[in-house]
Symmetry: C2
Subunit: 104 residues, 2 copies
């Protein structure tokens, strides 16, 4: 029996472009999004190297999740996040690839 | 003799993606960007219908200009703004079309 559980997130049709843009428009959150873009199977976001405290990291992950940019599943004590690429590409074709094309 | 003058804006290589995303991620500013997207020759932004005061409008226009999203030229007492489509498309291919594809 699996203990996998998805944390709350907006359905595709509830995602709002201003919330997505606000979520993406912050350097730490962009670093998280870039890391997830390289990990289609998702990663435990604690593993991404970030210059912030654990609580700030959790805050940024929550903003990304609530905006509809990422999905997070708990698996026991681990939280695995993935980018919602298909949802974003359906709603805003080109937006995410354009953001990822930006020089760092 | 023309009195046309460009207001200060970042050069293309100075534009930062987080600033662009922050500038775009606000409903009034998105309304401005959508209006400019339909007006390749630019518009006097006072003419865009917005539910805000003149000073708030000026604030939003300034944020868009300083982020590198729009250019503004003064022409006598008029200020004509245009989207910096070519610059944005070169830096972040797909980003602006993706944003403009969003349902309102």
């Amino acid at each position: 029996m699996s203990s996998r559980k998805a944390l709350p997130q907006p359905d595709r049709e509830e995602i709002r472009v201003d919330a997505v843009l606000q979520a993406l428009g912050e350097p730490v959150r962009l670093t998280i999004v870039r890391a997830l873009a390289d990990a289609p199977d998702g990663i435990a976001c604690g593993e991404i190297e970030l210059p912030v405290s654990a609580s700030t990291r959790a805050h940024h992950l929550r903003i990304l999740r609530e905006a509809g940019v990422i999905s997070t599943n708990t698996d026991g004590t681990r939280r695995i996040s993935t980018l919602r690429r298909a949802d974003l590409e359906t709603l805003y074709p080109g937006l995410l690839p354009g953001v990822l094309a930006a020089k760092r």
